[in-house]
Symmetry: D3
Amino acid sequence: MNRRYEELTGPEILDRICGSSTLLLPIGAVEQHGPHLPLAVDHIIAHETATAVVESVGEELDVWLLPTLSISKSNEHAWSPGTLWFSAATMMSILRDLGRAVASTGAERLVLLNGHGGNTTLLNTALRELRLEFGLKTFLVHPSVPPAYGGVSNASELGMGIHGGLNETSVFMHLRPDLVDLSKAERKVPEALADNQFVKFGGPVMFGWLSNDFDAAGYIGDPTGANTDLGKQLFEANVAHLGAQMSEIATFDFGR
Amino acid sequence: MNRRYEELTGPEILDRICGSSTLLLPIGAVEQHGPHLPLAVDHIIAHETATAVVESVGEELDVWLLPTLSISKSNEHAWSPGTLWFSAATMMSILRDLGRAVASTGAERLVLLNGHGGNTTLLNTALRELRLEFGLKTFLVHPSVPPAYGGVSNASELGMGIHGGLNETSVFMHLRPDLVDLSKAERKVPEALADNQFVKFGGPVMFGWLSNDFDAAGYIGDPTGANTDLGKQLFEANVAHLGAQMSEIATFDFGR
Amino acid sequence: MNRRYEELTGPEILDRICGSSTLLLPIGAVEQHGPHLPLAVDHIIAHETATAVVESVGEELDVWLLPTLSISKSNEHAWSPGTLWFSAATMMSILRDLGRAVASTGAERLVLLNGHGGNTTLLNTALRELRLEFGLKTFLVHPSVPPAYGGVSNASELGMGIHGGLNETSVFMHLRPDLVDLSKAERKVPEALADNQFVKFGGPVMFGWLSNDFDAAGYIGDPTGANTDLGKQLFEANVAHLGAQMSEIATFDFGR
Amino acid sequence: MNRRYEELTGPEILDRICGSSTLLLPIGAVEQHGPHLPLAVDHIIAHETATAVVESVGEELDVWLLPTLSISKSNEHAWSPGTLWFSAATMMSILRDLGRAVASTGAERLVLLNGHGGNTTLLNTALRELRLEFGLKTFLVHPSVPPAYGGVSNASELGMGIHGGLNETSVFMHLRPDLVDLSKAERKVPEALADNQFVKFGGPVMFGWLSNDFDAAGYIGDPTGANTDLGKQLFEANVAHLGAQMSEIATFDFGR
Amino acid sequence: MNRRYEELTGPEILDRICGSSTLLLPIGAVEQHGPHLPLAVDHIIAHETATAVVESVGEELDVWLLPTLSISKSNEHAWSPGTLWFSAATMMSILRDLGRAVASTGAERLVLLNGHGGNTTLLNTALRELRLEFGLKTFLVHPSVPPAYGGVSNASELGMGIHGGLNETSVFMHLRPDLVDLSKAERKVPEALADNQFVKFGGPVMFGWLSNDFDAAGYIGDPTGANTDLGKQLFEANVAHLGAQMSEIATFDFGR
Amino acid sequence: MNRRYEELTGPEILDRICGSSTLLLPIGAVEQHGPHLPLAVDHIIAHETATAVVESVGEELDVWLLPTLSISKSNEHAWSPGTLWFSAATMMSILRDLGRAVASTGAERLVLLNGHGGNTTLLNTALRELRLEFGLKTFLVHPSVPPAYGGVSNASELGMGIHGGLNETSVFMHLRPDLVDLSKAERKVPEALADNQFVKFGGPVMFGWLSNDFDAAGYIGDPTGANTDLGKQLFEANVAHLGAQMSEIATFDFGR
């Protein structure tokens, strides 16, 4: 059965979408990813991952796939000509408008599947805004998998392969090998950060950064060893992991 | 050669996009179109039309295809659960943000290819905003073809087949026959308007309307005679016509 | 009988304005019109035209004249010191606030009589916003007359006498001959545009422009032949034509 | 010599407006004023007063009359159907846009002549905003005259004739006797306030109020004794007084 | 009894705050005050004054002390590095959000105790906004005392000791002698203004100014004679005077 | 030496604040915390923690303490009368205004010390906004300590003592024992969440929640065992831990 929301008719929305339905919104980005990857990386990964998740568990869990939001808040790459980015205010307005529309269907659950790390905190803020204003149950998931679910730890990147690094490049190679040029990839790991105890990616002190703060190339990680085998393995693990998350989401309640 | 903007890398943007380049932004909508058509009609028509135009003339005219904006200002369908719509303010913010990003590439021309009539006046307003703020040459085109270029006049619809009517349904059947159910289509022509001399679609008195002002079904036109032959003919004429328009746009200058 | 809205008292609003009433808002502009015309052209034309229309048909059709909005969105002339202009956001806020106030009276119809072409698309957008938010029936009319109603076609201007050209200058000379100095007028027709098939005023490709894109003088047309006889003829035809439009508006319904 | 700003042409703005020029913006209101006065009171008083001031001192002091802003922030009368009012945010946007335009002319002084008390604090706030953002010298004056300059003290109104009371009604009768109906006027003085030491109009404790907080009739004062003689005397004194103020404004500098 | 609002628990809010309660919001500023005073002057004076008022009359009048808003709209000092200031729009948003929260408690009266003159007109505007939107009775008071209540007239400052002058410096010395350095104080009275009949502080013509318009030092008045005796006398008189104002506020009604 | 920013004079800001200075902004909240704790919990903890940190390391690291922002975005408690909360838009405006002011001083580092978990994602978003717009190095720290630094793991709360639970209540008892009433505390742990693998506090699926989604009492955790010994131990560990973080922040650079 087709689970693409936009392929329903208006009357079908009333028939098919109900309180038990979950709507899944993939959110990508169109932003520089260094010389080895195209702008579309996050757009394509979010879209393909969400599509695979809905193919896998959509029927069982009554999940519907919303059209992918291809562009989002990529202002850490504003310095790079060509990056398409929405301001924080525009992005919040988009989410508010979509939350209002989703609430009109009678669905109670909206899941944001976010392919761009630069959105995470804003989307997390939006979860509460939409819950408060429209009464939706709101969730945010990411298409990456922790080591316990099959992800690799990437010690070689010192845990900092966060933008155009080994895992992302590999997953993207699996999806679109024609768009990757590893001959242009180098190791771009901000080694200095690794010595920090607190101020580092995932550390207890959060910090503001732009993608050219570390290196003019604008990517962060070591994609040189990327390969499609790893990409396939990660992608499939991600989809399986997200399926498990969607399963818990589909029956989640606050228990009050 | 691939002309999808988002498939370029950051450094390639600098190499490939320049003052003579034209960037083409398809704008769709995800909104109710009656019981015979899915929400995605405008999204898919805008996307497919723009893709075909770029395939046809992109190389010759140095046109690049931006990612399709699937959702837009569909508030004339706000009454219909499931329609995804941005407010006028959100839509204007989106366009402003994109205009700023496009201007950063060095391209001088931005073309909006608008698949949803409800956007036309706002987009037209935005043309000047983006020209004034970012210095871009801005253009707005539509994927429909006037009679002189192969379109049919649809006298049977009294010229009012504006939403889910004969032409749109036919074009969409050509693109996605699996998503059309003509058995649910009826004639929904607001006959009363036809007697008006001034207050009518395309008349000298513009008027505010919502899509359920005329009929609870929310579509306007007579799709009952839609067919893929007509759809194919219209689509191909549209693409050819837009190619001619893009050709003029590519060399347009104010002559000062 | 006096039909000036602002000359009613508060209690009279309740007595005199009702569902069958139509409120007419003239919208002008205070913007450069070249060296032969004052900034006030659109302000005065909108005001005088609306006044004459209400004198002509106000009593019969229950039309009330709102105070003229003298300044509006003239940002195509932002380059010209002295032009008074509201941003698109300010203009939309003004219209929203006025729509809310008009809806409070019980009148169901609001007509915008727009004397400045630079407003048209934004006002057209606002028609739907006000209909959706306040339930008003909203209309937009213009004080210019098509050839079929007595207007001249101005082949000499190649159809491009859109700002300070023959017709506008003539109408204004009829109203305020003391404020016109034809000795400073020249032919300023952007001839290059005339060869365009698509990208031209009124052509199928809309485009963003500023009034100094074509010529540093900032006006567009050929006012050299302007005269009060033509102006009188056009003005009277405009008023008659608008009266006919108001008549249709006064009884307009969606027929549902 | 004509001193109406909007009757200048664009090139004349450059010639005639300079650093020594003062631009005067009359600000009215269209709001309920009780059953004896029309909505237009503040609009007409501001317009007529400003016009007379410029006739009196414009040539000598190089003052130019901007078009009257007829509608403003009248939300204390939002309860009364028909009152046309801008929100505080809209009003501030209007002033900012006008400040930007005025600054583009090279004039250094902008004077707001405010006919509606409900605007005073917002306009006063705007004086600083425009000075900070555009470098203008900004001023706010009012068309009412203190006792020392010929005004009457109105002890009979306990100093509370602030909206539709004796002075305002008299001045308006002088300007437009056809629009006043004293037979509908009553004494509407909020006597209870008079006993207050602090919380009262002009007292040290400012307080928020709406015009129907005191009485459902919505006006405040005692217009029953209004007459054109008093109105004429007040109007002429006001104009003279404002002329003196303009004279000081025209040469005002901060002395640094 | 403790009258600090923030020291109540959530359930106590419901028990203790009711229609007869008055909530008092002290509003300070953190802005340059010349070389003899710290940025905190307005913050500390507003906080200490409000605290003393509530200690004095809180129990009797059912007044609750809200947490002090330390920073506000100090844009007349935007030129001075270090001044912390909110834009007018931010400040209005803060007040609107707080008004909404206060209205949720069931209290009917909100008093703003404003320690920074640069806020006065904006706060006065907000009084009406909050009354209209949330139905609150709203008041604005200031911690300074007129001569009739024990204040000194400061003829030596020509009535212009408005920022860092004799009275303010003295009051602050009383509160925080450790933070005052009179050795750096000079007489900074804009003498030129004193000759003005209209355009002056408290004059009938309001004008926009920044604190460095008069003198690069950025303070206005003559603090050289400041002393703690005067400060103590003024502070105590202010508190007593505000207590009397609060007493009238606590029973204020519109009398309708 | 005094390190309170607001106790500097304007000229001292220029002398004392420079590129090596770090400005520390404590951010609290005034929101319901159940029946056993006052609204002020986050305000007081943020203020006291930041004060202690600056006392400890301010001199050594050139840290300056900004005035505490007592109120913030507490909209998860909007349902609870009395909670004072700023909308997300207001909060972002406040941070933007403060970022602009901080950047004017020449300091390069701004640290937000956030006492209210509901702000975390918005503040994290703001870090990038301020870095991009004003060039500041921006950081976000929290006054809680992980187990490795002396915190307790609270297995008894199933890791969900996030609002008014054991640790927070203990720390607050240490600071203000007079404001805690443990006799009203109960165990309020949302046990159902503990069984979730993904959708839980700190789990990989983020979710939108309001504080009364789990229980009408609005607090989350088990404060019944709270005590001042634990509170003192945690507070001191927090301060020490934050001092270490500030030390790394003070010399942090991107290494490019």
